[in-house]
Symmetry: C2
Subunit: 203 residues, 2 copies
DNA sequence: AATTACAAACAGAACACTCGGTATGTTTAT
DNA sequence: ATAAACATACCGAGTGTTCTGTTTGTAATT
């Protein structure tokens, strides 16, 4: 693994532990076992690194998950549910970044969400990534509903754009509620919400 | 207004502008027109101030809004909807804190949400406040649904706890989506979601 | 010889916080 | 009535630390 990759991976691990602002350059340098000179050889500034890390470990992963779900088989509900659970439940790249031998602590989306909100507040470009990601997710849900209507699985008298928006915000809300009240697992929240929608929408 | 109140109000205004971590003590001292010594006469530390400000201007306001809605008249839907819109749409104390003459910039809940997430990450006690607030909100929704069932307005075969959780997360999700995609106003999102639920639950 | 990939010392600003002092009340004792 | 004793509210220079970023140096590779 290249030094640059090691810096990014180490930084992301530190983010998950302490949030963005509480990670200093010297923290990164110590944890990645490099020096200041080495760091500035690979990155222009601390900010450059932070944005690159969030893009790589969060947004690229999310968008590729959506892309994967888009091309997968299954009922509309299965497709949407599995995309959500993959993005927010399993969090593969996070697991990869954190559990490579040394650390066994569970990395979950709750931390990621807090990171994102911190990033949004600090960097406009993160806000742009976040908006684009949600447009992508919303479109995916709408397309999947349309597909369900076309296949005769979903009632054809619904407004797919509106239903997609409702499902979308409901799913996102489940995640936030899970941040505030982790005693109910995310999976249960998502499935319970979906049950309710499908009761009203399935043909 | 006492010096202590002025410090807190000024700090909250700065928070809305720059987030928590980017507000330094010297920012506060300049904006509130005090001195370092004056500040430390009133507060033990910067952290003490930050937590006190979030409690006063966010959590106390939210919880009192729920209390007010609990004791108000109207259909279950009206009660729930107006509580949400008061908390997240109008944001009275924020308006009070920011628009007292000098500043006319719109303060909305989007900033508050980002502040809260920042606070949660940094201070355990803020996380506790946040959890308590959401339990309070969830209970209010459940009680209101139960009341609707008792009054014969809502179908009696629904599980009020589950429906409350679904409505709760959907409302919270609307707020988050509004952070990411502000082009659709919060009010429209909330009403659209509620329309959908009421179609399935009203008698 | 030149470029790559780092090392190490350092600069300069910003940070939260301390501390000795001052001015202005407010009791209490004579 | 007056002075002593104390309390409250505030001042602002100064401390030590930490921060990001710069500069210069060096070993290895091409």
């Amino acid at each position: 693994m290249s030094t640059k990759d090691r810096i990014m991976k180490t930084t992301f691990k530190l983010f998950l532990k302490k949030g963005i602002v509480d990670v200093s350059l010297s923290d990164i340098i110590k944890a990645a076992d490099i020096t200041t000179g080495g760091f500035y050889y690979h990155f222009d500034s601390k900010d450059t690194l932070l944005v690159a890390v969030l893009k790589k470990y969060v947004f690229d992963y999310f968008n590729s998950t959506i892309e994967y779900a888009r091309n997968s088989e299954g009922t509309p509900r299965e497709k949407i549910e599995s995309a959500m659970l993959t993005m927010w439940g399993e969090c593969v790249p996070i697991a990869e970044a954190t559990t490579s031998g040394e650390s066994s602590e569970k990395a979950d989306y709750r931390k990621i969400h807090l990171l994102l909100m911190e990033g949004i507040q600090k960097y406009d470009v993160i806000m742009e990534y976040y908006t684009k990601y949600h447009h992508n997710l919303l479109n995916f849900i709408k397309e999947t509903i349309d597909e369900g209507v076309a296949r005769g699985i979903i009632r054809s008298d619904i407004d797919s754009a509106e239903l997609a928006a409702i499902i979308h915000s409901s799913m996102v809300g489940s995640v936030i509620m899970w941040v505030a009240m982790p005693e109910i697992p995310l999976e249960k929240r998502i499935i319970s919400n979906m049950d309710y929608y499908w009761e009203c929408t399935a043909k």
